[in-house]
Symmetry: C2
Subunit: 350 residues, 2 copies
Amino acid sequence: MTDTEEVRAARPTRRATQTVTLDEVAALAGVSPSTVSRALRNAEQVSEAAYEAVMRAVAETNYVPNRAASHLASNRSGTVAAIMPAMSYSVFADTVHGLEEVLAAAGVQLFIGATGYDAVREEQTIRAFLGRRPDGIVMVGATHTAAAREMLLRARIPVVETWDWTADPIDSLVGFSNGAAFTAMAEFVVSAGYRHPTFAGWLTGADSRAHERRDGFTDALRRLLPDEPIRVLDTGARGISADAGGWLLDEALARFPETDVLVCASDVFATGALLRAQARGLTVPADIAVTGFGDFELSGLLHPALTTIQTPNDSIGRRAGEIILERIAAPDSDSVRADLGFTLVPRESA
Amino acid sequence: MTDTEEVRAARPTRRATQTVTLDEVAALAGVSPSTVSRALRNAEQVSEAAYEAVMRAVAETNYVPNRAASHLASNRSGTVAAIMPAMSYSVFADTVHGLEEVLAAAGVQLFIGATGYDAVREEQTIRAFLGRRPDGIVMVGATHTAAAREMLLRARIPVVETWDWTADPIDSLVGFSNGAAFTAMAEFVVSAGYRHPTFAGWLTGADSRAHERRDGFTDALRRLLPDEPIRVLDTGARGISADAGGWLLDEALARFPETDVLVCASDVFATGALLRAQARGLTVPADIAVTGFGDFELSGLLHPALTTIQTPNDSIGRRAGEIILERIAAPDSDSVRADLGFTLVPRESA
DNA sequence: CGTAACTTTGACAGCGCTGCCAGTAGCGCT
DNA sequence: AGCGCTACTGGCAGCGCTGTCAAAGTTACG
């Protein structure tokens, strides 16, 4: 320990321990760092000999490029952020899945954040994600606080709002009209002869899509059955669950015994309502009909099979991913508004 | 356009357009960049006056710190990567949800990648994620290719494997024994009087947990019913779906008509099988009993309600997040092995 | 009033890459 | 041989932060 002085003199490096850098690969390959960088990103810009020397050195050192450094130098992060209300309901999980698949194929990585249907958390999540300088943002929903909208606009990156339809998207929009879907459902149940429909969903949270569904339904109903009172049920603190669907059926029977069809804002509710009706010894649709929304796999297998609306869950994610990739490649291209529509699936439950 | 010369002379900046930097905030606040950095990360290191000047400047400029630069300078990325087989099945979505909640509360952001139950894609995903230098990695499963294991070890970051149980985890482990769960199920169905069980699941893919479930079941069966032949059904290319569960029931009836209980590797299959049995006019469990795995919400609402095994989906994610955070804070702390167990839920279907 | 200890601040280098530029080598042509 | 090309390569600065150090200011105390 006689060389304490020298050790002190050498300023301690802040380098990450044990991590191979591009410079070390370059030294081993006998080329300059620039050449290594080129070989790794655009092999055709480099001679075959250099390419192979680099690849050998990469393999030998197990080099993995540091994307944070690359991001800083090139001002492209190679990431996209997705902000969802929740992941536990399969509809959004399907959308994330489609999105992830498209992005991963392009070498873009996906950040995920959940807001729990809370506008404040949405704002926090957006702010946190913008710190990562994603190349694009995908959001579920087109209703945001003014501050959130402002942040997204100022970020000057492609934004895709999904699962919704609006006249003034922040940037691009991929979805369908929840209101139109429930207008279609209203028309269907009325044409099927039902005269006393009750709408049921979760309307307490900041889930604007649920409100659009209700409005689409009740507006149509006022037109189709002008003399009929409007009946709406809210699961409130029960949130979104099959059990809440069971509660909705009980509640409809208790508060609105004239109900002949329970129009649910989600198959989650409809399934719970259907099973509860059967548990109570009622026959669906003879005693009470039930409709859903979302067309989950199980919905078609139940007895009676659920009348519902099929939504393009996976396609929304894929299309959103494609749009982000297009706009990253050509930032001046136009924003996209894609209505992927919905399909009413009449089955046995109504 | 007479100043072409001067314009040429000025080397074009590579700065991101329109993005506020820490230096600009410092200039506006009238303090040094160091002080801004400190104010934003450890307010207590800075005088009250400086803190407030910084905060005013931040608000005025809408400054959002660039985490890539912070990452590069501090060698901590503030991210965790999660690698899942799939997101479309609620069990993993629940785990992601629990994980995201814990991490987001600590200001850590979550990268998500899906492998589609494919070992090669798992390797590619790990490699891609390591380029982001996450502070930790959460994986579903404890069975990986040698190369994947090697990469994870070399990364020298906390790794949590989940949803599995093994004697030699890479680092930490949070899950339960899939084999033990199906040993318990075997004991249950035998003690309930069933003598001709058939195991059913998806065994074609790289889903090692499915294999462990089968082995746990068949091993126990050989012990409990030594004279009984072993019956196993594989959905093959049908994968994991309720429809495949229906096929499993048909197949069991056709190929193994002696089957008195169909033991499914997932509630997805069990639900499909149950509904198919009813569609065929069979009574469950009298004509054929059915058991599942996972205890989805719907499983308890079906008629008959599914006998199944409850798994700690959400807790696995939360605990994994906690472990990662602990180990980021104290890198020398010991790795953790947490068996979160499972609960057999006897109901009406068996 | 002087000294020691603490608090607060700023300067500076550097994290690991990429964009830009200039330079060299090799080629076909006049 | 000399010219203009193209193909390939290396040098350099800098992306936007943070860690480290040293200096300045402030307080406590004998």
